[in-house]
Amino acid sequence: MSAAVMEQPAQTLARAAQGDQDSFSELIEPLLDPAYRLAAVMLADRGAAEDAVQEASVKAWRKLRQLRGDATSLRPWFLSIVANECRMARRTRWWSVIKVADVDAQDRAQPESYSDLHRALLRLSPDDRLPLVLHFYLDLPLDEVARALRVSPSAAKSRIYRSAKRLRADLTMDEVF
């Protein structure tokens, strides 16, 4: 890959950091799909997930100057904002009450279509789902999972394994990684 191609995201990032909305949109749009999937799994609500991604995007736009590192840091940084936005959304009391009811209703409404793993996944807390989504669903490398979780790579690995074991107790480390 040529140096010119390598420099392009960095220049786009620099322009975005200076307030260029088009450059920011160019950077953020490829991340919207993984961000949405992360939020949808954490919140178990698609509409709320889109709201969380939208709010996270606005916050990322406002705080882009706080991004440390190069353009490759953008994805874990943005996903960590999305995860945080999901936590904030769930912390609101009325929201949490509705969410629990929704999940239970979904569980009861479609019992046949859900696998045991799916049901086990729904029983996990959102914070336990997060490392699984990042590692398995979004297929992020371990160092990016760690940056999105804002922990060390070894701590990230531990959290992924611990969450996976909650889904299936007989899982070994080799089966997870």
Binding site: R46, E50, V58, L121, A164
Partner: protein, 254 residues
């Protein structure tokens, strides 16, 4: 279950939970990003407007000072033309006692006026109000003289400024020059200062602005006090009740 099987089954479950994002999500986010800039400008306008309103409220409260407004102040500055005192020869200095303490607590927050005359302001009272006490005092921002009456308020009070400190004593016609280079002549009608008042008629104060106050007339129901000032000044007049008194403040620092 192998790693691949576990991953496949897990991702299928995740897919079932997530589905696909709405095609409009990208557009929503673009507009949401564009919106805060405009919104922030409105916040600035609102914040600036709030600051202006707050400043106005503070200013109004500061000027009006509702918590300290005198409730017994019956006089208001009413400048009106009137004769100015004339200077004449033959000074007649008189002995003066040391200044007495300041007047009883009175409001001190009315605006000073710089007009050449105050009043005459008339008020109801007995045929003759007897002066019972005269006192001077120095305060932060002003020097004060208070003339108190024992049996009611005098019928009118008038104050005139002058560019010298020389006054004419009445009825003798003699002139007297007080300390200072400017003066205030206080004319109180419907009063006398000899029936019940036996205190000093000349105060050499040593204050910064009000240097000397001397009674220059007590005749046929008219009492006049000359006030010697250091430089021209703005002043304010209160006609207060409980007891009835005339309070004159000469602004310092002008």
């Amino acid at each position: 279950m192998s790693n691949e099987n576990f991953r496949r089954e897990l991702n299928r479950a995740f897919d079932g939970m997530a589905g696909q994002p709405s095609p409009t999500l990208s557009g929503r986010i673009r507009s949401a990003i564009a919106r805060p800039t405009a919104a922030r400008s409105y916040y600035w306008i609102a914040a600036a407007a709030a600051c202006v309103i707050a400043a106005l409220i503070v200013g109004v409260l500061f000027v009006a000072n509702p918590l300290h407004r005198p409730t017994s102040n019956v006089g208001v500055p009413l400048p009106s033309p009137s004769a100015s005192p004339s200077a004449s020869p033959s000074p007649s200095p008189s002995p003066s006692p040391s200044p007495s303490p300041s007047a009883s607590p009175t409001p001190s927050t009315a605006a000073f006026q710089c007009a050449t005359t105050y009043g005459p302001v008339t008020q109801s009272g007995p045929v003759t109000a007897y002066v019972s006490n005269v006192a001077t005092g120095a305060h932060a921002g002003y020097d004060r003289i208070t003339i108190t009456f024992g049996n009611g308020a005098p019928t009118s009070v008038e104050v005139q400024t002058q560019n010298n400190a020389t006054f004419t004593k009445d009825p003798s016609g003699q002139s007297v020059t007080l300390a200072g280079d400017h003066g205030l002549l206080v004319t109180i009608r419907g009063a006398d200062a000899h029936t019940t008042y036996s205190g000093s008629t000349d105060f050499k104060t040593g204050y910064t602005k009000l240097l000397e106050a001397q009674q220059v007339q007590d005749y046929e129901g008219v009492v006049q006090w000359g006030i010697g000032l250091s430089g021209s000044t703005c002043y304010r007049v209160y006609l207060l009740k409980g007891p009835d008194r005339v309070v004159i403040d000469a602004q310092t620092g002008t």
